[in-house]
Symmetry: C3
Subunit: 284 residues, 3 copies
C-alpha cells in the first residue's frame, strides 16, 4: 500500500521546499493543497480517514505547512477535532519550518550546554522559530529570556509558552539599544532568530559577554543577526563562543525533517509538534 | 506507459477522498484540478487527447468529482463535445460519490429482491444519491416512488430520470407527516438517502410496513434516516427487514469505485455514469 | 534520487499538455503550480534550490508554461535573478508550446533549404510561435520578413528579435490584401503561424510564388492558414511546394519536448530557451 502524504498549506501556493523534502523522505504520493483554512478543510480530512481501513491508516499522513504559524496551529486544532476513535492519521506541523529549525538549533546547543543550568537569550524571540526555540529550551529546563523590541509581544509569547510548558522559566526581555547590557548579562546561550537583514549585536558586543558559551544564528542571508557568524559555521569558534550559522544548523534540520516524515508512517495516531520533533532531532 | 488519471473537480480544492481511491486503484500519476468549469476546461481536455497517440490513449483517463452533481454533469457534457473521432479518453463521473454509492446500495437490495416485482421508496429522492438510486432501480424494472418534502422537486427528478430511462416507472411522492401511510403503502424496499441528521421514519413505523423486505440507509452520521439501522449493519435483521447501513453499503461502494477506475484504462472510449457503474458493481 | 520537475504556469490551471509530456519524458515527480507571478514565485524558487546539495541539484528542474509567452519570460527573468552561485537548477521555458513548435517547424524547413540563402516569410509573425520561428531562422542566417496586419507590431517583434540575435536580418512586413504580391516576392519559405481560423493565402496564390520551395502551416484546426495544406502533411507536395501541416511538424515537436526535459536533468545550470531547444530538435 502506497504511503500518501497530504500537505495542507495555509498559503495559496503550497511550499515547494516541503514538497521536495517529502519526496526525499520516501513518500510515495504527495497531495498538496494551498489556501487551506479551518472552514474548507473538513471534507479533505474525511477523505484522509474514510478511504482506508483503520489498520491501513498508518499509510496516510498529514503535513501542515505555510508561512503563518498561527494559521497552521488553527488547522491542527480543526484536524484533531475532526478525528474520532480509530479514524485518524498521523499529523506533522512545521509551518515556516519553525519546528524543525528550532529543534535542530536547540540540539546544536545541547552538545555544549547543560540546559538545567543554562541562561538563554532568544533574539527575535516572538517570531515562529524564536518562539519554538524558547519553548523547547524551557521544556528542557533552561531559563529563557524572550527578547523583542516590544515587551508586550514578548509577554504574549511567554504566556503562550507557559500554556504548553507550565513549568517554563521564561521571562520577557525588551531589546533596545539601551537595554543590551541587561539583556545579555549572565547568559550562556544566544539564539538569533530574527527577520532577515536585522543585526542584533556587533562582534565586539558578543565577545564582551564573558558567560557566553554558544551562539547560534539561523538567518542565512547577510547581514546575519550576530556579526561575525558565517552561515556555514558549524561549531566554529567566533567572538569567543562556539558558533553555528544557518547552514550549520541546516544539516540537522533537514535530517530531522526527513526522519519526522518517515516516523509519521509508523502509526496512525501521532501529532508531531515542537516537543516530538525535538525528540526526533536527538536520534537522527 | 504510465496510467495517468486527470481529476476535474468542480470544488476549489479537489476531493482528497477520490485522490486516495485513485492511488489505491493502481493509477500511476494523478493530476488533480480544482475549480474546473465548462469555461476553463477546454485546454485541459486538449492536453489529455493531444499528447499521446490514438493507440496509447487508453493510458489516459478523466475522473469528474466535486460536491455538486449538476456541475459535474455540465463538465461531462463539455468533455464529450470536445472529443472528436478517435481523439478521446475514457471518463468516469462520480460527483459527491453519487454513482458509486447508489450502485452499491441498489446492488445490496438486488441480493434479496426481484426488481421486476419491486415497489421501491426513495427517501431524500431528489438528492444526488437518491436520484441515482431511483434511476438505477427504474432501469432495472422496479416501480419507484421518489419522495421529497417538495412534490415539485420530486416531479423534476422523475422527469430527469425518464429523460435517461424512458421506460422508467417513477412517481413523485410528497413526504410529509400526514402522508407517511400512503407513501409506504405496499413497498418492498426503502432507501434513505437524505441529508445528515434527518430521521424519516421511526423504528415502529418501519416495523409496521408489512410488505417491506429490505431497508437501506446510506447516512453514516447519527441520527440516521431509518431509526434502528446502525451504520455497520450489513444484511442485518432490523425492524423486521433485511437492513444495510452506510458502512454495510460502503465496502461494495469502495470495491466498485476501484474497479471502475481500473476499467477506465482498458479502452479510450468509455463513459462511466450511473448505469455503467451499476454494471461494474455487479461483477466485483 | 528522484527527478523532480517543478512546473510554474502563468495560467490559473497548469497546462495538462505539459504535465502529460513531463511524465512521458521520465520525470519521477511533477509539482504543478498555477497562477504563478514574479511576485509570488520567490519562495517556490528557494524551495527548489535549498532542499538538495549543490551536487544533487541536477535532479531538480523547472519548467515554465502557460498561454502568455511574455508572462513566462518575466518568470524566467525573476528565476535567474533569484539563483546565485551554485544554488541553481536547470530551467526550460515553453509557454504556449512556442519554443518546441517553432524549433520543430524550422527543423522541418532545414531539411530542404540552405538558410544562408533563404528568404523567409512568417505569417502571424508577431504571435508566440511566429516570433520564435523568425528568431531561430534569423539566428541561422536566413533573411526573414515578419508579417502582421499591423506594421507597428511587426516592427516591435523585429526589434525584440534583434535584441536576442544582434546580427538578425529581419524586416517588418505589413500583410494586407493589397500587399500580398510584395510580401511573397522572391520568398523560398513560408511559415503560417497565425490564429486558428485565419486563411492567409489561397492555394492559387501559394502556387503563384515561383521561388517558393517550402510551406509550413502549424495550425491544426481548419481552415488552415495556407489553403490546401492538410494537418497531416509531412513533406508532401502541395501547390508546388514541399509542405508540412501541424501534425507533420508535431511529431518532431513532441520528440524535441521530451528530449529537452530529459536534458534538464543532466546538469543544474541550463536555460533552455528558443536557441537551445532548436539545437535539441536537431539531434532527436
Amino acid at each position: 500500500m502506497k504511503k500518501i502524504l497530504i500537505q495542507f498549506d495555509t498559503d495559496s501556493l503550497p511550499s515547494s521546499f516541503d514538497r521536495v523534502v517529502a519526496i526525499d523522505s520516501g513518500v510515495d504520493e504527495l497531495f498538496s493543497y494551498g489556501g487551506v483554512t479551518p472552514e474548507n478543510i473538513e471534507p479533505l480530512i474525511h477523505g484522509a480517514i474514510f478511504t482506508r481501513s483503520a489498520e491501513e491508516l498508518s499509510n496516510t499522513a498529514i503535513f501542515i505547512s505555510g508561512s503563518n504559524v498561527e494559521a497552521g496551529e488553527r488547522l491542527l486544532s480543526k484536524i484533531q477535532d475532526t478525528f474520532f476513535g480509530p479514524m485518524r492519521v498521523s499529523v506533522m506541523i512545521d509551518s515556516n519550518g519553525s519546528n524543525t529549525t528550532a529543534a535542530a538549533a536547540v540540539r546544536c546547543a545541547s552538545k555544549h550546554l547543560d540546559f538545567n543550568t543554562t541562561e538563554a537569550l532568544i533574539l527575535g524571540g516572538t517570531g515562529p522559530v524564536g518562539h519554538r526555540c524558547g519553548q523547547i529550551l524551557a521544556a528542557q529546563g533552561a531559563t529563557v529570556r524572550i527578547a523583542s523590541r516590544s515587551e508586550e509581544r514578548a509577554q504574549v509569547t511567554c504566556a503562550e509558552i507557559r500554556h504548553v510548558v507550565p513549568e517554563a522559566k521564561v521571562v520577557p526581555c525588551e531589546f533596545s539599544d539601551e537595554g543590551v547590557a541587561a539583556a545579555v548579562d549572565g547568559i550562556n546561550l544566544i539564539i538569533a532568530a530574527g527577520a532577515a537583514g536585522v543585526q542584533f549585536l556587533t562582534g565586539e558586543e558578543v565577545e564582551g559577554i564573558e558567560t557566553l558559551k554558544v551562539a547560534i544564528d539561523v538567518n542565512a542571508v547577510p547581514p546575519v543577526g550576530l556579526e561575525g557568524i558565517s552561515p556555514t559555521d558549524d561549531a566554529a569558534e567566533v567572538n569567543g563562543a562556539t558558533s553555528y550559522g544557518a547552514f550549520g544548523v541546516g544539516g540537522l534540520k533537514m535530517k530531522t525533517h526527513r526522519a519526522a516524515i518517515e516516523k509519521l508512517f509508523t502509526t496512525n495516531d501521532q501529532i508531531l509538534n515542537a516537543a516530538e520533533i525535538y525528540n526526533i532531532a536527538g536520534s537522527v
